[in-house]
């Protein structure tokens, strides 16, 4: 710390030599010095004597210099300050919750990640030291180290580290440590899964040739056992475990255990202690589809997804499925689903969705049956859909950017809002001008079915026959 103080003092002198206010003036010479000039500190720079008396204060000052350097991405400077800050470990009598050891770990990791002369070996060395610094933090540091290795593609090293961490024992575990331990095991399971999948691929490739390597197969099974055991544990705890669930189900499916897989997915999707994760429903739906389940069960799975996320991209698939159904109720649901999806800003320019809606609306209009479905759906939207979807501005823009989108939208607009609606008028006019046959047909169709608009919007109570 003392050396830091001296350094700081020297620097302050250099700074004050230039500007009397004592603020860190960025002198021209300070472009690439070992210690570039400093930003002003929140606390006024006191005399160094006072700093020496107050160890804590200088610690804080040093930390704030480090922070400052890091926030300006001056990693080299931060690293230099950090070497001073390490001294704070020597007299660490603080009873603060976050001790300097944790700060050193966090800052050191960050600096190592960004420093220009980084090497994985040094980083690992640093991490090993950090692990020994705090017992309570051991597992967390291990996990972070593993993440770093994984992101740098060192999967084997990561696996070793995970195994080591798993075997670590120290007194009673706190709740947080328990959770971290579970994560360590789960990630080890994940890596086991990857090696399982690798061997599976080898077997599948060579198995065709009749070349069955027993040892590879055995190894694969042992990987499966290890992976399954660990993955099974973590997905019982409420949380978001998309990665683990997918792997586990994949393995179960491979070994022909669909019941267990179904149970896992059901649990993941429908257990109320878990968050309402749309992916859980998606996985279940995809699983059911793979298993060749009946339409009914597929629809019921998607219905639940529709209830929690009406804007999910699977809704198009859901709508197509429902539209094909013979049951009136389901077709009705299909219309609801597509209307609901198009309520969302993210679907505004989705051609597929608009063509689904256009197709269904067209069907209804032609068949003259169930106009009341449209009417009901339209009732809650007629005050804002025109401004949201069918404004003149959008007509222009859609026409410029995507003709097929504007075609579908114009059809819907023409039916819902009549032939005088701005969107339809603009698009059909442009389409006719451009001599596109499709748009001429569209105009004819809408003109023919214009009375429908009156019925939908409730302008005429008596049903008008065409």
């Amino acid at each position: 710390m003392d050396s830091f103080l001296e350094q700081q003092q020297r620097q302050e002198e250099a700074v004050t030599g230039r500007s009397r206010s004592g603020r860190g003036a960025a002198a021209g010479s300070a472009l690439q010095p070992p210690l570039p000039s400093l930003e002003p500190l929140p606390l006024q720079p006191a005399s160094s004597h006072e700093h020496k008396l107050n160890f804590r204060k200088s610690k804080e000052a040093c930390l704030s210099y480090i922070q400052d350097a890091m926030l300006q991405k001056q990693w080299k400077r931060a690293a230099e300050f950090l070497t001073f800050y390490v001294e704070s470990l020597e007299k660490d009598y603080s009873r603060e919750h976050v001790g300097p050891s944790e700060i050193i770990w966090r800052i050191g990791t960050e600096v190592f990640c960004h420093h220009s002369h980084k090497s994985m070996k040094e980083f690992s060395c640093f991490m090993e030291q950090m692990k020994t610094l705090g017992v309570k933090r051991y597992l967390k540091v291990c996990l972070e180290h593993v993440f770093h290795l994984l992101c740098n593609g060192q999967i084997d090293e990561a696996y070793q580290n995970l195994s080591l961490a798993e075997s670590w024992r120290y007194g009673e575990q706190t709740a947080i440590q328990d959770r971290e331990m579970k994560l360590v095991q789960a990630y080890r399971g994940l890596l086991d899964y990857y090696s399982w999948s690798k061997q599976k691929n080898i077997l599948l490739e060579h198995g065709v040739d009749g070349f069955a390597d027993l040892s590879v197969e055995q190894e694969m099974h042992s990987c499966f056992r290890k992976a399954a055991m660990n993955l099974k544990e973590i997905i019982k705890i409420p949380g978001v475990w998309d990665l683990f669930v997918k792997c586990y189900v994949d393995m179960l499916e491979f070994y022909g255990d669909p019941n267990e897989a179904r149970q896992v997915l059901n649990e993941y999707a429908y257990n109320s202690r878990f968050p309402a994760n749309p992916n859980a429903h998606v996985y279940l739906y995809q699983f059911l589809k793979r298993q060749g389940e009946s339409k009914k069960s597929l629809i019921s799975a998607l219905k639940i997804l529709h209830d929690i996320v009406p804007s999910h991209e699977l809704m198009i698939e859901f709508n197509t499925m429902l539209q094909k159904s013979k049951k009136r109720k389901k077709r009705r649901l299909g219309l609801e689903v597509i209307f609901a999806a198009l309520d969302y800003a993210g679907w505004k320019e989705n051609v597929k969705a608009w063509s689904c809606l256009a197709r269904q609306v067209k069907q209804i209009v032609i068949s003259e049956k169930h106009l009341d479905w449209i009417k009901q759906e339209w009732n809650s939207r007629k005050d804002w859909w025109p401004a949201f979807h069918f404004s003149r501005y959008l007509a222009k823009r859609n026409w410029q950017e995507n003709k097929s989108l504007s075609y579908e939208k114009a059809l819907v607009a023409g039916i819902l809002l009549g032939k005088d609606c701005k969107y339809f008028k603009y698009v059909s006019h442009q389409g006719c001008k451009a001599q596109v046959k499709r748009f001429r047909m569209l105009k004819k169709f809408v003109n023919r079915h214009n009375p429908v608009y009156l019925r939908i919007s409730g302008l005429s109570d008596s049903s008008v026959q065409p």
Partner: protein, 989 residues
Amino acid sequence: MEFPTTLFSSYFGVGPPREEYGSGPAAGWGEHGQVLEDDRGPGRRQKQPVFVPRRGGTDEIWDPAEAAAVPLLPPSAGCWIPSPAPQDILNRNNLYGKFRAGRSEATLDFAKQLGHFFVDHPEDAFGSMGQLLHKNFYLGNSKLKSSARSSTIRMTTLMEDIDRLEARRGCHRQHLASRLRWFSHLCRDWLFEVPLGLLADCLHEELMLEWSNLLFDDSLTGGALAWLPPEDTQSCTGCLVHPGGQAMNHLFFQDVVLEELPRAQGSPAQFELSGRIRQVSAARVDGKDFVGVRSDYHCGVWRVPGRTQTAPTPLQVIRTDVPASCLTVSPHLPGELAVCTHSGTIYLWSIETGLQQLRSDPQTMFFRDHSPWRWSDFTAHPRVLSCADRTGLQCLDARAPRKCHFDLFKVGEEAGCQQGERVVLPMYLGRAHPSQYLVTTQFSVYVLDERLPLVPMLKWSHMMKAPPVFAHLMPGDPGRSHKVVLGASHTQELLLMQYWGKRWSLEGAAGLGLLCTHVPGSSVPISQPSYCWDQLLHWHWVLTGQFLGCVSSGGSQSACQLAGTPQKLHSIAGCLQHLPTQLPHRHHLLQQRLGAPAAGLAATLQTDGTRNSMLVFQLSEAGDVFCQRLIHEAVCPPAPTSKDEAITAPGSSPLFEAPASSPLGLASEEEEEGEEQTFYLPNLEVIINDDEEKYASTPAPLEEAELPQESCAGSQPTPAVPSPAAALRYRRWLRALSRGCRELPQHTWTPSLSQRRLFTRKELEEPTGPSALQRQVRQWLRQVMQEGGRIQHWKPLAFQPPALPQPLEPSGGQDPLSTRLTAAWSGDWEQWWEDRTSFGMAQRQRALRERRRRQKRARGRRSLSASFTSSLTYQSELSELSDSGPSLLSPGGPPLPSQKGSSPARSPPGGSRAASPATDEALLSSQSLRNRGIPKERRKTLRDYLSVWAEGPPDTPDLPASQASCIPSSQSQLSSASQTRRKRPRMGF
């Protein structure tokens, strides 16, 4: 609008936050959080899996182009009145303690504030009693006549006691003021107009309010600055909407041209509102910008047509009974806004259909919190609004607000919050992703997805010193990260963070076309957009070595990732060190002005040709708008090509470039530039006491032409000195600031002092033989006192050589400066000085003799103060009236008259404090005033009176040299500046 196929793992708990402490000051560093397998690379399944971290992935590198933020607009006219600072409200002793011990309970300086109230509003405090009693209280000095003594008491001693009490603040022996104690005991019950207890209660309440506002002012949430981008991306003229004026009640729509340094174009459209503008929010719907403006009791909405040069139209105003706390504009439907008030009511405000109340609940949602702050914003569904209080966020369906709602965010275990964490600012991130939301708390930043409520997609400890109350989103094009700038108010912090998350609509050729232009680091032209995906994927893979989550070929979307590390941006206060050096008191004022809390934040991305830059605007409570530019590094190659050179060359600085389009503008600009220099030099020269700094800064315009390369190089990480163009901006801004502030004290602050009590007629009578100068001075003094004017602004009138003693020019004809310089040049400078001083000695002795004689003649008590040595110390206390400045006495200083106006005078420290011959007449003239039997206590009054003028307005340095001087010395300006500083502690101001 796909949902990410795999999310990062996390535990999910329910209940109140369990974590007692955060992870301390470095909590945001060094964590990857979780990793996720990135399984979308083609054919990578066979090899080993590739992982991406949740935090700390690759980011875009943005380098600041300037050393500090640069003023964008000239400072608003009129002085800014700073809002109260902690030292105004807190007890002084306590303040010390607070800074020493870290955190101790704050004590409000209640007594001082009450005292201020009595002084500022005497009519309200003592009106009736004062009228009743004023005949019975005598404030004069002389003794009471015996006839009056029965019904009148003399208050003078009491007043003196009060004065002394003030001087003795902090002294332990306070019991000495028994007389005061006795008086207050006697009249506490009946003297006050408002019962003291009641008044104290009200005052205390107000103080508490002020203090809590000082700790955290939530009325600023959202920020009062908005940027309306140009409609077509090619154009570079946008519109900045900001408040201004002294009370921040004027709304300005200012067109801004984005160039190397953005500049204002034309005069702004201006609207005067009836309250301080707290928030300005804007959204673009159907090509038109809708701007919502919130003040405490009024909310208004303007429409700005997409094209520039068309005036904004005010559409509607609503008034609220309780202060409004939020106003957001719908990004989906034109003319829809969300309004919240402190009563806990949330309205959907439509221009066409009026207000619809969605919820009214004074209680907070998830647990009890005392704050009445509410916020509301829009979501992906145009009929669903979010509503927030300090405890979390809920989403309501406007069609059935009671029935349909769900919890989006809870301060609790669900999001892994810490105890004491509170929502500070929620923001809809619709422009980046239609279902994402940003929530900031005092500790962390969360990115939420409304499709998976309660579980944050991203969480990060921002480590800011003050809670971020402003945020601005800059959506990245596909393949680019989204950028969010967070801003705090009191500390002016600005933090840039980036995150990955695919932008939504990626269909059709338009999306692909966009994509092609933004492949980072690629210089390969892409001819066919249809190949783009594959190429892009490949490049990303090759160039970054790490697959960036946002780009995907399968149409699925990766989970949100925080990209890289956050970056600190320049704050307004940071430019102080780059401004020309100021006199200390002006430096202090400037520091105060630049350090004013931030009031708003806006930012925009700009692409011109190959360059990507980011412009960040920051508004301060004083109404100043500063901006800074950041340059995307990938675009600037390390070795500047000829094109880059052209861009960064000095000619392209706004100063030179703007005229290129209009030759007329060139002339005027340059003229102004020339004018500035000539104007600037003399007026600063006279005043600034350390000229090294000044010389270092003033020749910048010259350098601008000569040394462009080194200062303009944009590829440096952080330039250490501002570019010449920026330096010019600083000086212009500074000049406009001092010009704007000068007028204020004159017409708003005219102190009135009773002249009657200062001098009696007898005292002001002509003495026996006053010199011409004395007579003149007296006449001025009298005249000014009659007019209630000020001494400092006196013109030197006829004060020219006749008033000055001639002997100063001994070598006949040649002026002393040249004599001295000649002497110094030839080396016998010391000899010259010797001559000079010996000559001065003679002169001084004569003056001394003369004064002694006069003293003997004068009536009344006389002290040694008139003698030479003591007169000097006394002189330092006296104002400029008698002051000829110690600078004259310095050995290096040339005699007075030669210095006038032209050369910068410096006052070297130390030196023999002998009066120079030149000053004798002046000294005598003032001393004669004093020696003419003005009693001692009056002398203090006089001193006070004069020192009021000596304090002067802060802008005195800017007076032209001809006006700057005041009697009797032509350059007392300088000495007044140095003297005021020395004197200040004694004046009690």
